[in-house]
């Protein structure tokens, strides 16, 4: 763990210094005033409300959307992954095709397509339920990530020795039973670091939901820049860079630490 703590400290300190240096280089003598102005916008950027009274926008929205998208993608990705290792070619072929199509699609295009593909509202049990931009953004983000999770699932299952399959079969388990009771429990430690990397990637991608009209951190940033003037734009984007870094970097370090532990245990 020691080496990881060192990289973590070097990373956080170093990036903070680099960003502060960039900030001072851009603003020079005005740094203090600009910093105070942008710091005053912190509640808005973090929670979407001016005084932390509600958590419905800003950076909180990015976190909420990314968690829901990850949950959706985990379910869909596991199903797709099971399809990809199916013995019947009728299921395997389409699954692999869907995975490849989703993996090679730009997230921005999928987000736009979902914006127009999903209806404005749906009728469930006689009541009209509105599909908000946030739900569309969540589905749009979940789709490409489904492919990544299916890949992780296939890789994890593939890394379990085939002897496990054969012995379980000898004990009379059926294929899906073997997956559920024998192989997947052993694959989970191997899959965890990759799933965390996928989540970090998804969180980084959640910055794109600004195009769907969700109140995410970038759309709040646009509002702030529109009200405070163009000269704060660089400062606001630096601030958002730092927010994303502070969220994703610990995940990256934890992932590496887990990866090493899994490798050592093998």
């Amino acid at each position: 763990m020691n080496a990881h703590v060192k990289i973590f400290l070097v990373g956080v300190l170093g990036v903070t210094l680099v960003l502060v240096a960039l900030f001072v280089a851009v603003y020079g003598a005005d740094s203090g005033a600009i910093l105070r102005g942008v710091a005053g916008r912190t509640p808005l950027l973090l929670s979407g409300s001016a005084d932390f009274s509600a958590f419905e926008g800003g950076f909180a929205a990015n976190i909420v959307i990314s968690l829901w998208a990850m949950a959706l993608a985990a379910v869909a990705g596991t199903a797709l992954g099971v399809g990809m290792i199916s013995q019947s070619a009728v299921i395997r072929g389409p699954s692999v095709l869907v995975m490849n199509v989703l993996r090679n699609s730009p997230w921005l295009v999928v987000l736009y397509a979902m914006l127009y593909l999903l209806p404005f509202e749906v009728r469930i049990f006689g009541r009209f339920v509105e599909i908000s931009p946030m739900i569309k953004a969540t589905i749009g983000l979940a789709l490409p990530v489904t492919a990544n999770i299916a890949e992780v699932f296939r890789g994890g299952v593939g890394s379990v020795p085939t002897g496990q399959w054969e012995s379980a079969r000898a004990l009379g388990y059926r294929r899906l039973q073997i997956l559920r009771r024998v192989v997947v429990p052993q694959a989970i430690p191997i899959m965890t670091p990759n799933l965390m990397t996928t989540y970090a990637m998804l969180f980084i991608g959640s910055s794109l939901v600004v195009v769907t009209g969700t109140h995410d951190v970038l759309s709040v940033a646009r509002t702030v820049i529109a009200s405070d003037g163009d000269h704060v734009a660089t400062a606001v984007y630096l601030y958002i860079l730092y927010l994303f870094f502070l969220f994703c970097f610990p995940i990256a370090i934890l992932t590496r630490w887990l990866e090493q532990r899994v490798r050592v245990r093998k």
Binding site: V109, A233, L241, F245
Partner: protein, 235 residues
């Protein structure tokens, strides 16, 4: 729901789309070149234990890998256009801004995917069999010569599979150029959507276009991989 693709036969829209595809490919190519430069230089610094440069390289990699390329792009776009450097066009003598939207997109693509490339190339370098490296040292190659003539050529070949997905990711990410008004294929698409209101059809077509571009990139990488293959190293 019926899909209407009649707008596709309008020559104006065809020209917009084709120009856009050209711009997207050009963006991606420049981005890939920058990505390789950053990746190889960064990996060399880390691998050769260059003093005073290792820590800055680590900080660079962590900063650009853990932040969204979109925010990097907006940041570059606003910061660099504030600085306002200009170049003189040799043909017309007019001064053009050095950091246009196009340049900023290429920079952000190169920085984000370059930071990932540093890690990919470094793991490729670590995968070079130690006997090969020791053999080169025994033959009298210096540390730098070993790197240049033995480790790098083999390491780059070993990291082709993850590099292919990094290149696909770069091409996919290039679609965000539209958000700083660079006329790539997404930009053409949004223009057509504004005129025809065939939003869904246009987006589906663009989806297919991107799948074709990324598919083509994967094919090219595979061809390169078989051409440069050294028997005994990698699959």
């Amino acid at each position: 729901m019926t899909l209407d693709f009649a707008w596709l036969f309008d020559p104006l829209y065809q020209r917009w789309l084709l120009n856009g595809i050209g711009t997207t490919i050009l963006l991606s190519l420049f981005g890939i070149v920058l990505m390789f430069v950053i990746g190889i230089v960064g990996a060399a610094f880390l691998h050769l234990n260059v003093r005073y440069l290792q820590t800055p390289t680590t900080i660079f990699v962590e900063l650009f890998r853990n932040t969204p390329p979109l925010v990097q792009l907006f940041f570059l776009y606003f910061m660099l256009s504030d600085i306002g450097l200009t170049l003189t066009d040799p043909a017309t003598g007019r001064s053009i801004p050095l950091f246009t939207g196009f340049t900023c997109v290429v920079l952000s693509l190169g920085l984000y995917n370059g930071a990932i490339a540093v890690e990919i190339i470094r793991s490729g370098l670590l995968a070079v069999p130690s006997q090969t490296v020791e053999g080169a040292r025994a033959l009298g190659y210096t540390r730098l010569q070993t790197f240049r003539h033995v480790e790098l050529p083999i390491g780059l070949r070993l990291c082709i599979p993850p590099m292919a997905s990094n290149i696909v990711s770069l091409i996919k990410t290039s679609s965000q150029a539209v958000l700083v008004a660079v006329a790539d294929v997404m930009y053409g698409a949004t223009q057509i959507m504004l005129e025809t209101f065939r939003n869904l059809e246009v987006m589906l077509l663009i989806w297919v276009v991107y799948l074709m571009i990324t598919g083509l990139a994967v094919l090219i990488v595979r061809r390169i991989a078989t051409t440069v293959r050294i028997p005994g190293y990698g699959s």
